[in-house]
């Protein structure tokens, strides 16, 4: 062992060339709060990776502001080690990270370093491909319209706000309304998919304990084996939090370029905007509305523009983005929420009122839309759920009206009853995503009026029982719907028969 090391070192010394020459350098003239001002290095490019030499080793920084006499740079490492007078060298390279399939199943920092204590990511770092964190979004020519569904496994979403692969769908709501739960369920549900996307969960500015919990949930559900977690916890420097979504996106693009489908969750872009605001204020960029810098819109649009469905000539891969935004007291007209709403292809709007009433997931169907996903909705679900949105809307209207009316005609009563049943069916706990064929079956039963007689408190029990019954007695119903993605007449007849006979069993 020691002999090996000595030999290796001797070889290195023998092959060591040190060509004398002039090199570009700079000097730290100001340091503090995670940023630094550097003189010299007048040829540095924006976003160039810089190396600051300190007594404790090299610290990396990114050139952010290129001014006439100085460079404003943000530190990516231990800020306390950087002192005035330290030497700075340019690397000539813009910020990039090593990527590879070895990352799947791991938690990494925005600089591509493993943070899960399971050892280094790559056997030999030189074998890993490196990609820049910032890249131009695919052009119009390279894109194709969204045509493959991304099933979240959440009934209310897959039925009424369907998401397509390559789409950008915003999840927005106040704190503690189940935003993360929806994104997490969408990842867990990919286990049920034949053509399973690579999932990337980017945690920005969250407590480390929360991130650890999410990793544990993924692991326990056996979903970590196709997921990458990019972690920039609240304790990380603002610069790393700022870079995290770009890192997640760059990793996603690596897989998309290989023709794979990718799902990226940015949890959340409100904290991302805050970290960018912090850096910008420290670098004395002029503040704008709500003290955010003027280019905050551009920041998020250039990130989300990188979501795409590539055409076949470009490999046919896709990158679906699920950004999350936290609102304050339901105010979606604040600066960052309106920005991101206008950039994305729709939003899933969660409401704390619904959440506290126990209507979970707390999706406000009226305010939620998916502007491109319906083109990609699976036929089986489209067929059964086409009327769902309308029936629910009518139910809401009537429900409000009933509070004043004393006697109702039978038709109205029936509508209200159906609405109550549907509301019950759409309730779904977190961490329990359903394969789409199951969603189709239960929605079919509910909208077809087959379960109107089931007492409401027993609906969940009925649902679980029905799935078990069909699985054991009519197993081909699920497999047929799953493989054909539709419900043909023969399957429908078999399904109706199965539902009817299970209702009889259930009633006993």
């Amino acid at each position: 062992m020691q002999y090996d090391l000595v030999e290796k070192l001797k070889k290195e010394i023998a092959g060591f060339r040190d060509e004398p020459g002039l090199e570009s350098v700079g000097t730290v003239v100001e340091a503090g709060d995670g940023i630094t001002k550097i003189s010299g290095l007048s040829k540095a490019q924006a976003q160039e990776l810089l190396v600051i030499e300190t007594p404790d080793g090299d610290v990396f920084a990114v050139a952010f502001n290129l001014e006439e006499h100085f460079i404003g740079a943000v530190l990516l490492g231990e800020a306390t080690a950087v002192r005035v007078g330290a030497r700075v060298r340019g690397t000539g390279a813009v910020l990039s990270i090593p990527v590879g399939k070895e990352m799947i199943g791991r938690a990494v920092s925005p600089l591509g370093v493993a943070v899960d204590g399971k050892g280094s990511l790559f056997k030999d770092i030189d074998d890993a491909e490196t990609v820049p964190l910032e890249r131009k979004a695919p052009s119009v020519v390279a894109r194709e319209s969204v045509n493959v569904p991304l099933h979240t496994g959440i009934k209310a979403i897959d039925a009424m706000i369907p998401i397509g692969r390559g789409q950008r769908e915003l999840i927005i709501g106040d704190r503690q309304t189940g935003k993360t739960a929806i994104a997490l369920d969408a990842i867990l549900n990919q286990k049920n998919e034949l053509n399973r996307p690579v999932c990337i969960y980017v945690a920005i500015g969250q407590k480390s304990a929360k991130i650890a919990r999410i990793i544990r949930v993924l692991e326990e559900a056996d979903a970590l084996k196709y997921t990458i977690v990019v972690s920039a916890p609240a304790s990380a420097p603002a610069a790393l939090q700022y870079l995290a979504p770009f890192a997640g996106c760059a990793i996603g693009e690596y897989f998309m370029d290989q023709g794979k489908d990718v799902l990226v969750v940015y949890d959340d872009l409100s904290k991302h905007a805050d970290s960018y605001r912090e850096l910008s204020l420290l670098l004395r960029r002029p503040p704008g509305r709500e003290a955010y810098p003027g280019d905050i819109f551009f920041l998020h649009s250039r990130l989300l523009e990188r979501a795409a469905r590539l055409s076949r000539e470009f490999g046919g891969g896709s990158l679906t983005a699920l950004p999350i935004i936290e609102t304050k007291l339901g105010d979606i007209s604040a600066y960052v929420p309106t920005n991101v709403i206008s950039i994305t292809d729709g939003q899933i709007y969660l409401e704390s009122d619904l959440f506290t009433k126990g209507l979970r997931p707390a999706v406000n169907v009226g305010l939620s839309v998916s502007r491109v996903g319906s083109a990609a909705q699976t036929k089986a679900i489209k067929k059964v759920a086409g009327r769902l949105r309308l029936e629910l809307a009518q139910f809401r209207e009537l429900e409000a009206f009933v509070q004043f009316a004393s006697d109702l005609d039978d038709a109205t009563k029936a509508k209200i009853h159906r609405g109550q049943i549907l509301t019950e069916v759409l309730k779904q706990s977190d961490l329990q995503p359903l394969a789409f064929e199951r969603e189709a079956v239960i929605l079919f039963a509910a909208l077809g009026g087959y379960i109107d007689e089931i007492p409401r408190p027993r609906i969940k029990e009925f649902e679980a029982g029905l799935f078990g019954y069909i699985e054991s007695m009519h197993g081909d119903v699920f497999t047929k719907i799953a493989s054909s993605r539709m419900i043909d007449d023969a399957t429908e007849a078999e399904l109706i028969g199965a539902i009817k006979s299970f209702i009889e069993i259930f009633a006993q």
Partner: protein, 125 residues
Amino acid sequence: MKYTPRIYAKALTESLASVSEGKETDIIKRFLASVHKRGDTRSLPDIIDAVSEIERRRVGGRLVEVAFARRHKKSVLDVFRALFTKHDEVVFRTEPELVAGVRITIDGEREFDQTASRRIKKLFR
């Protein structure tokens, strides 16, 4: 808006350039009073640095920093000084962490590094 040392220096050199012979002392006096009035007396060393930089640039000189790991005799330093023109400002430093050798930095921008510390670092990179 606060004045930076660079702005002070620029204002001073431009005023001095436009003033008639013999009036320089008055200008400098008034300049110092104005710096004092704005409470920027503490920045005077930086202002002086900036003035000498502007002057150096004007005559085509450079700021040359020569750093050794240990102190050297004047005759050694003279050898280095002779490498540069009379417009260049050559300053010498002693930095023990360089271990051995010499490092020359021009205008804080370009560097010629032949120190042992850099070689060791490169070897182990």
